[in-house]
Symmetry: C2
Subunit: 222 residues, 2 copies
């Protein structure tokens, strides 16, 4: 910041109160470790486990290995229109909650994942004001504004185009953004904004980056 | 470019000969128009149509509307392991080949799409040297190098993590990048590199951009 001649740039920060986005997980960054999946076979819940959470964990852990793979998670997670979550969204969830980088979600990690999805479901229902089961452009703009992101109409339009499910001909669900892609869009905006902000040390809204840094930032976002 | 003190930066350009990536389509940019899908019902092929192409087009056009929706395209396109193409890859293909921005692929547009997929299938088979049916990190690095992209190990590793299908526990296909995600990864590298290059008018490998430009570039890539 060089002084008064620079306007300090507002990137948006999660606003307090209802409208704020769920906690994005404590794991730093995005990406997988290279370790193979570790499997510990369990016959029952760990002592003190929440019975409801254990029941859902067990139903997702289809092969009874004691931990949840990306494949098992994708098979278990469905949107309001019964479509499965995208692989990219499933990988994003794994990377946030597989904190020990085993390649799978253990029961302790699952508790965080379950709360995260529940919280986002609340946010989704709150902003789906027309109860269509999907988020349209206006609803997306309202959600991101309430999270503190003041995006231009052009950026909002790009986001809507990128994350919406295209109109299916004839019958079918209304076009718009399904739950999984809504969560991914919001995390992408947050991740990219934070990466930009980290580079913009003087907070004037401009950064100077080289090709390697640019590719690194973009490919690190979900 | 200020002169000799700047080293001109090599972004990579599609190399001539076999290793080069298929033509990325003539449509400018990425993204959908806002128009609703137009439907013209056809009972038969247009005069002079390739019978084989017409047969495949008709089988993809499940509702016999005379044009192919994103939903129809996604249902028709499968990888070597029988998984369906990701919605993001299907939307990318639609945005390249729906040149009249009708929201659907007509028969004339389909000819280009069909050739594009066939060409990429040849590239995929060429670089899948271990015949695993998927592209691993080394195979991806070889493919991108042959297209002229000299990416660092870190960027290649990020690409592999982002586009690979995670290991499924127990049996299942080997981990790696399936066909649809391989094509998307290559188009993403090309799109981002070209966007960076367009901003880097003096070709020294550095750009100065603001938040709006940054978000615009990133969200315009598939
Ligand atoms: Zn400044
Ligand atoms: Zn399991
Ligand atoms: Zn809605
Ligand atoms: Zn220069
Ligand atoms: Zn159709
Ligand atoms: Zn292979």
């Amino acid at each position: 910041m060089l002084g008064r001649q620079h306007q300090s740039f507002n990137y948006g920060t999660a606003a307090p109160g209802y409208g704020s986005a769920p906690n994005y997980g404590q794991a730093p960054g995005y990406g997988y470790g290279g370790q193979p999946a570790r499997h510990h076979s369990h016959r029952g819940p760990p002592p003190g486990a929440d019975p409801q959470l254990w029941t859902w964990f067990s139903s997702v852990d289809a092969d009874r290995s004691g931990s949840i793979s990306a494949t098992e998670l994708q098979a278990a997670l469905v949107n309001g229109d019964w479509s499965n979550f995208d692989l990219d969204t499933v990988k994003m969830l794994m990377s946030i909650f597989d904190t020990d980088r085993s390649g799978t979600i253990g029961f302790n990690e699952f508790a965080g994942l379950w709360k995260y999805i529940s919280d986002w479901q609340g946010v989704f229902r709150h902003f789906d004001v027309d109860r269509s089961g999907s988020i349209d452009g206006h609803e997306l703009a309202n959600a991101l504004r309430s999270f503190g992101y003041n995006l231009t109409p052009q950026i909002l339009s790009l986001l809507e185009q990128k994350y919406a499910t295209p109109v299916s001909t004839g019958y079918g669900p209304p076009p718009g953004i399904t739950f999984d892609r809504f969560v991914r869009a919001c995390v992408v905006v947050k991740t990219l904004s934070e990466s930009f902000q980290r580079m913009d040390t003087d907070r004037d809204g401009w950064i100077t980056i080289n090709y390697e840094q640019f590719m690194n930032i973009v490919l690190s976002a979900p």
